[in-house]
């Protein structure tokens, strides 16, 4: 343990020292990478500017966090009380998880002017992790205690009230730990685009044109600090509550086995697919927006399949999709590979990986637009930069899932091969890798929507191709039909890839 901690400290110090040297001597990307000391100096110089922005971001994130979690908790309770409702809401849940923020922010800004769009994005960002964790927590309870409650005439309501709610608390807090940084990121993303006067996102936007990388990194690190604080607060709360401590796996959003007859199941599946479209329609109707900007599902269909726009729109959309899809798969594979290597390295050399984790966390909370110049200077504007950006947005959740999977390989299995002299990498190859295979699919499931998001961001910021570019161009031309079409296609692609991963996961775990 002691040597592990020392390895962590040494690696961390080493990385920061290398960073400082590289930054001071302008070794990386002709000096576009600022050194830690430059970032600190810039932060000190700008400190008076930061406070209103930090306060605005914290406020937006906090309100969005409360709203999103309230909805997520109520939804989870409903899903557990009425299992059919979960299957029915499945399409909506996955769609919310898969929504690429860059596709929906312009739409949110139209539909919910002012603060609404920012709160909505922060709330949307927390819904899925909390809902998933809470559902698992409510569902995985001690069946013997349930018998006790039933023995005294308690029904489902009593089981919920006396057993499920409280026993879901550790899982809920685990979900909140993921949700807290998500809320911060959602808030910043919306601040960036929505014409907000204050907030780190707004500050970032104003600072982008200044060619001052130290400032941009300062803003990014401030965002990381807030997100990290959110994580730490949720973790602290979890520690206080979890006397009935139990490992929380966000990954296992597994569905209960579907009950009911074939026809009924098909009906629910169809309804679950249609429901997001109904909700989309309803929201537009309630919002009372002009059909020029707010396209209903029918509006999108008309745009894509009826003259005069249809043929050309389909052609452009298809061309963009053909550019985006293969690189999404490639980027996802690369992201999973990095996550897998990191997880394996973490199992063999935990000290080193613990030191890499803070840096990995920074890559998760650093707004990508702040890193674009650095990335294009290092990777150019071809496939490399797209893959790099995609890896950076996908590997972390995948790593967390895989590390969890590797940690669950029974000690005894390691001891067994250890007894025959297998150590380190050999033990890994013989035991850990086969055992963690199912987790790879769970990781893929989490990585899919993020991979598409990463590719679209790269296309928008660096390469100027594919769906990301089409989306941005369409915004410029007020081509609302195309904006909605790209948003729809990107969600559908995410959902399709997600479902593919779910199916592979089922096959893999069935063995």
């Amino acid at each position: 343990m002691g040597t592990g901690r020392r390895a962590t400290a040494l690696t961390l110090i080493g990385i920061v020292a290398l960073w400082e040297i590289a930054g001071d001597l302008d070794l990386v990307a002709s000096g576009a990478l600022p050194s830690p000391s430059e970032i600190l100096v810039a932060f000190w110089r700008d400190k008076a500017d930061y406070w209103p922005h930090i306060l605005a971001t914290v406020r937006t994130a906090a309100i969005g966090f409360v709203i999103g979690n309230a909805v997520a908790i109520l939804a989870a309770i409903l899903f557990v009380r009425v299992p059919a409702s979960e299957r029915l809401a499945r399409g909506i849940n996955i769609a919310i998880f898969a929504l690429p923020p860059i596709a929906i922010v312009p739409v949110l800004v139209i539909a919910l002017p002012g603060e609404g769009a920012r709160l909505a994005l922060a709330a949307l960002a927390v819904y899925f992790p909390t809902m998933t964790a809470m559902t698992v927590g409510l569902r995985e309870i001690d069946p013997r205690v349930v018998d006790v409650v039933r023995a005294y005439g308690g029904g489902d309501g009593a089981v919920m009230r006396w057993v499920r709610l409280r026993s879901s608390l550790p899982a809920l807090l685990g979900g909140l730990r993921v949700a807290a940084p998500n809320a911060v990121l959602g808030a910043i993303l919306a601040e960036f685009g929505s014409g907000s006067r204050y907030g780190l996102g707004a500050y970032l936007l104003g600072s982008l044109g200044r060619a001052d990388p130290a400032r941009l990194w300062g803003i990014g690190l401030a965002a990381t600090a807030i997100a990290g604080l959110g994580y730490a607060l949720a973790a602290l709360a979890a520690k206080r509550v979890t006397d009935a401590s139990r490992a929380v796996t966000i990954a296992s959003g597994a569905m209960p086995p579907a009950k009911g007859r074939g026809q009924q199941r098909i009906a629910i599946a169809v309804a679950s697919f249609l429901l997001p479209f109904v909700v989309w329609w309803l929201l537009l109707w309630l919002g009372g927006l002009s059909p020029i900007i707010a396209k209903t599902p029918l509006g999108v269909f008309e745009y894509l399949f009826l003259p005069p726009t249809g043929a050309s729109a389909r052609e452009r959309l298809l061309a963009a999709l053909v550019e985006t899809l293969p690189i999404t798969v490639l980027g996802m594979a690369a992201g999973l590979a990095v996550a897998f290597l990191l997880a394996v390295l973490g199992a063999v050399r935990p000290g080193i990986v613990r030191a890499l984790l803070p840096i990995a966390l920074v890559t998760q909370t650093m707004p990508l637009v702040a890193l674009t110049p650095l990335l294009v200077l290092i990777f150019g504007r071809g496939i490399a930069v797209t893959v790099a950006i995609t890896v950076s947005v996908t590997f972390f959740p995948a790593y967390v899932t895989l590390a969890q999977g590797l940690a669950m390989v029974p000690r005894a299995a390691f001891d067994l091969v250890g007894a025959y002299g297998a150590r380190g990498w050999t033990a890994m190859r013989l035991v850990a890798l086969p055992a963690s295979l199912p987790w790879l699919f769970a990781a893929a499931r989490l990585a899919v929507p993020r991979a598409l998001l990463g590719v679209m961001i790269a296309e928008w910021l660096a390469t100027g191709r594919g769906l990301g570019n089409l989306l941005n161009q369409s915004r410029g031309y007020l081509d609302y039909g195309m904006i909605w079409s790209v948003a729809l296609v990107s969600v559908l692609v995410s959902v399709a890839l997600y479902q593919a991963a779910v199916m592979l996961e089922r096959v893999a775990t069935r063995r």
Binding site: R150, Y152, D243
Partner: protein, 257 residues
């Protein structure tokens, strides 16, 4: 109520489960009559359906044929009034509730407020947990947790007490102690009691009547009445008459094997 429980009558019960798609009969025409205030022990090999029989008596499982009557009512109705006390093999305590609050769980579920809680301190003393009122289950030993579960089964002042191997996880010494305590509790309140157990000497020590179930499918292979008067001293474990009875039960169990 204090005068002791009501009769529990199990009539010709058949229960089948679906195992991998094919039906498996667990209880095959089982009948059992428990007079008011009696103490019945159910004993049998693993998988003979004795726990299932208990759950049926409790109304938690449906039957494929036959019926269960408590007094002249179906168990569901009796259960909903909180007149059945239940203790499972596992104490099944809520880890976030103190000893007192865990014992109060049935009252919470039944929505009983006020004076219903007044008997909890007495129950805690009865099971020998005085001083641990506010302890959490994680801070208790296995035996102490089990005693909490037993106190919980008595908190509604039940007419019927159903216990599914409540001492199964305890070591022999503790188990003996708990047997004595259970006898004392039963004598005090005289609920009609059905105890499912693996332990032959435990069954003979506590029960008026030992019902021996045979396995696969479960059916009654013998009934042994225990004539010793209550309260029974622990010295009885060394009594030859006691041993003769345990041998009879053993033979019934072995004959079926």
């Amino acid at each position: 109520m204090g005068g002791g429980g009501r009769a529990v009558v199990i009539e010709d019960v058949v229960k089948t489960f679906l195992v991998r798609g094919s039906p498996l009969t667990v209880l095959d025409h089982v009948s059992l009559a428990c007079p008011p205030g009696s103490f019945i022990a159910l004993i049998g090999p693993s998988g003979c359906g004795k726990s299932t029989l208990l759950r049926i008596a409790l109304g938690l499982e449906h039957v494929d044929a036959g019926r269960v009557l408590i007094g002249d009512e179906a168990p569901d109705a009796v259960r909903r009034r909180g007149e059945i006390g239940i203790a499972f093999q596992d104490p099944a305590l809520l880890p976030w509730r103190s000893v007192t609050a865990n014992i109060a769980l049935p009252l919470d579920v039944l929505g009983r407020r006020g004076t219903a809680r007044d008997r909890i301190p007495g129950l805690i003393r009865l099971v020998g947990l005085a001083g641990f009122e506010e302890a959490l289950p994680g801070e208790l030993s296995g035996g102490m947790r089990q005693r909490v579960a037993i106190a919980r089964s008595l908190v509604t002042d039940p007419d019927i007490l159903l216990m599914d191997e409540p001492f199964g996880a305890l070591d022999l010494i503790l188990r003996r102690q708990m047997n004595v305590e259970l006898q004392r509790i039963w004598l005090e309140r005289r609920p009609t009691t059905i105890l499912v157990t693996h332990g032959i000497d435990e069954a003979v020590f506590l029960a008026d009547r030992v019902v021996v179930l045979g396995g696969r499918p479960g059916r009654i292979v013998g009934i042994v009445d225990v004539p010793f008067p209550h309260p029974r001293p622990t010295t009885m474990f060394r009594d030859p008459a006691f041993h003769a009875l345990t041998d009879t039960v053993s033979a019934l169990l072995a004959g079926e094997e």
